[in-house]
């Protein structure tokens, strides 16, 4: 019976680790999603501002320590593309998050069950001893 208990324990540990891993991934996904959201808002603002400008203004892009002059239209298109990219990223991240959540739920259930078994085994052991 000790062997069974030990096996249970090992299984429990393994499950727990897996669950923790899933949780980490989930949190990572969430963080990236937040970042993307911020970028999205920012780029939206930039787009708005760029729309307000006309050709008389020079538009620069900061690349490292260098301010590089950009064309207004170019800038606008670039920003637009970026915006689309960001929204796509967000969508992907969302789906990933869902998947992770589902898996983590499954893991949680398995974990709970294992815990129960483990406790039962412990009780039995206690009763025996």
């Amino acid at each position: 019976m000790a062997g069974a208990e030990a096996a249970l324990q090992k299984k429990l540990k393994a499950e727990l680790e897996r669950y923790q891993g899933l949780q980490k991934e989930l949190s990572k996904c969430v963080a990236s999603r937040q970042k993307l959201e911020a970028q999205l808002t920012e780029n939206t603002i930039v787009k708005e501002e760029l729309d307000l400008l006309d050709d008389s203004n020079a538009v620069f892009k900061l690349m490292g320590p260098v301010l590089v002059k950009q064309d207004l239209t170019e800038a606008k298109s670039t920003v637009g593309k970026r915006l689309e990219y960001i929204t796509g990223e967000i969508k992907r991240c969302e789906s990933q998050m869902k998947e992770l959540e589902r898996r983590s739920d499954q893991e949680r259930e398995a974990l709970a069950k294992l815990q129960q078994d483990f406790q039962k085994a412990q009780l039995k052991a206690a009763a025996r001893t």
Binding site: I45, L52, F60, V79
Partner: protein, 602 residues
């Protein structure tokens, strides 16, 4: 707000959110302030071609310098994008951003406000509870509660289902969740049934009216059982008289009978139970409405409606059914009206119907006082019983050793009559609740004996006189008595005995009862104890059987107690054998209930 810990936590959370909001708002306010300053600066910047300023070099140094191109502003658009704009355009952008910031601030403010209000509400609620001492009342269903439920599961919903329905909770138990749908369905069924019955009732009404000249008169406390919950048909009343309600009740299916019994039996929660059960419609219990028949002057400013014909019918019916001999304590109470028949007094050998049981004595002992002024009844009833074909002959035979014996036997007989039906003495305790009724009546009797000075005085006095005439007169007197003025009435008829002797007499009676009752009661009490007294915990049931052999005051107190409680339980009321003022009150109340129960029982 039952859990202070959770409340506290909730409040903590609230506080946290509120402080968060506040911090954010502060931050954004600063930003907005910055932007507004910037805007101002931008607006004034192009005023001059160049400004001499102290230029910051690094974090720690300044250097004098000039601000030259005052109209060109490079603005960070976001995401590493810059644009060089004129001052005015920059100003526009700044304005734009400021609006954005303002919007954020507003959102945060609203969020904070809502959180704060929630917090306030929570604290108010908690405070309220503490102030007013509001407490969450929770009563867990315990085993004892389970036991306390009536012996038969009450049919909560359907009056028709023969099978026991899920037991209803007593008022003591917390109302559990009922399945709403279930309720609704059953309620609908009940309503449909009620409508049916109402129609039947009306039909019967017509019949009654056709039969008799006198209009129905209820000198009884009238309640309508919420619409004739009884099913049609059934055993009652081929004598079509009586209380339609009672007829209906008697006719009722078993389950509804149970219901009614249950409801009727419930002493304390009587009305509440019923209404609780019924939901909207009110259930009131009605006593037997007197058969609307001949008015008979019972000689004491009262008139009793009594139908000779019905009496005859019933007697024949009974004799047919219970041919010969006494039934050893079984009586047929088929309808509440039968009670009236029992409660008749024997005046000169002729059975005279009494006034409505309940009204007769204002209420001390509904069933009890007059009839159960046993002394009066004793002689008469014994006479009548011996005269009658059924019933108490057994009792008579059993006792008769002494005055006390006769009294007790009479009492028993009276009680065995299920409340003193002088005529029949056929008593079926097996009928629903009849046993209880009898037992209760007996209890009442005993209570009367032991508890009620007046009555005991009557009893003893009458017993001492052993005067049938006096008793009969007494019965006549008791017919009309209002309440425990048995004293007065009996004294009028009975000689000598003064109320002051009551103590002795009561003791005497108690003694007698103690000695005699067990034997005499045996039939009835056994019946009673055999049936699980509705709603009565098993304990009261226990005493009666042992009391049979034992002289201890258990039987009277038990029976009385049972009676007193209306259902059983607490043997305290008369158990102490004291003649406190208490017994009169409970018996009366109980007896009324008993009457109701009898009524409902049918």
């Amino acid at each position: 707000m039952g859990d202070p810990g959770s409340v506290q936590r909730l409040q903590d959370e609230h506080t946290k959110v509120v402080s968060d909001c506040r911090a954010k708002i502060q931050h954004w306010e600063k930003v907005r302030m910055d932007y507004s300053v910037l805007r101002d600066r931008l607006s004034t910047l192009p005023d001059r071609l160049h400004y001499s300023i102290m230029v910051p070099m690094g974090p720690l140094a300044f250097m004098p310098g000039h601000l030259i191109k005052t109209n060109e502003v490079t603005v960070l658009l976001g995401d590493n994008w810059f644009a060089s704009l004129s001052a005015k355009q920059a100003e526009g952008i700044a304005e734009h951003r400021m609006q954005h910031v303002q919007k954020t601030i507003d959102d945060l403010g609203r969020a904070q406000g809502s959180i704060e209000s929630r917090q306030r509400f929570t604290s108010e609620l908690a405070g309220l509870d503490k102030e007013r001492g509001n407490m969450e009342i929770r009563e867990e269903l315990t085993e004892r509660d389970e036991q306390r439920k009536k012996g038969k599961p009450r049919v909560a919903h359907s009056p028709h289902s023969g099978s026991p329905a899920p037991p209803r909770e007593t008022p003591a138990a917390p109302p559990g969740p009922r399945h709403q749908q279930e309720d609704a369905e059953e309620l609908n069924r009940i309503w449909a049934r009620l409508d049916e019955l109402e129609r039947e009732e009306e039909a019967m009404d017509e019949v009654y009216r056709a039969e008799d000249s006198n209009p129905a008169d209820d000198d009884v406390v009238d309640g309508d059982i919420a619409d004739d919950n009884a099913g049609g048909g059934g055993d009652i009343l081929e004598d079509s008289e009586s209380n339609q309600i009672h007829r209906h009740l008697s006719v009722t299916t078993k389950s509804s009978k149970e219901e009614w019994e249950e409801a009727a039996l419930d002493g304390e929660g009587l009305g509440e139970d019923v209404t609780e059960w019924e939901g909207t419609p009110t259930i009131r219990f009605s006593h037997t409405t007197e058969p609307k028949k001949v008015r008979i002057d019972t000689g004491r400013n009262t008139t009793l409606k009594f139908s000779e014909r019905r009496e005859q019918q019933q007697q024949q019916h009974r004799r047919r059914r219970h041919s010969g001999g006494s039934n050893g304590g079984t009586t047929t109470l088929r309808s509440p009206a039968d009670i009236y028949r029992w409660f008749v007094d024997v005046a000169s050998g002729h059975r005279r119907p009494r006034k409505s049981i309940l009204k007769s004595r204002s209420h001390e002992d509904g069933l009890g006082s007059d009839e159960f002024s046993y002394g009066s009844h004793g002689g008469s009833s014994s006479n009548s019983y011996s005269g009658s074909s059924n019933g108490s002959s057994s009792y008579n035979g059993s006792s008769n050793g002494s005055i006390s014996d006769s009294i007790i036997s009479a009492i028993i007989a009276g009680s065995g009559g299920g409340g003193g039906c002088a005529g029949d003495g056929v008593f079926h305790p097996s009928e629903e609740g009849d046993g209880d009724t009898a037992g209760d009546i007996i209890g009442n009797i005993v209570g009367m004996i032991t508890g009620n000075n007046n009555v005991t005085s009557d009893v003893t006095s009458s017993s001492n006189n052993n005067n049938i005439d006096s008793t009969t007169a007494n019965s006549a007197a008791t017919n009309s008595t209002t309440n425990n003025n048995n004293n007065s009435t009996c004294e009028s008829s009975i000689t000598s005995r003064s109320p002051t002797t009551t103590d002795n007499s009561s003791e005497e009676v108690e003694e007698m009862s103690r000695c005699q009752l067990p034997d005499a009661f045996s039939g009835v009490v056994s019946e009673r104890s055999a049936r699980p007294s509705r709603g009565a915990p098993p304990s009261p049931g226990a005493p009666p059987p042992p009391s049979r052999g034992a002289p201890p005051p258990s039987p009277p107190p038990t029976a009385t107690a049972r009676h007193d409680d209306g259902r059983g339980g607490g043997a305290e009321a008369v158990g102490d054998g004291s003649h406190s003022g208490e017994p009169p009150a409970p018996p009366r109340r109980v007896s009324k209930f008993k009457a109701e129960r009898l009524a409902s029982m049918r």
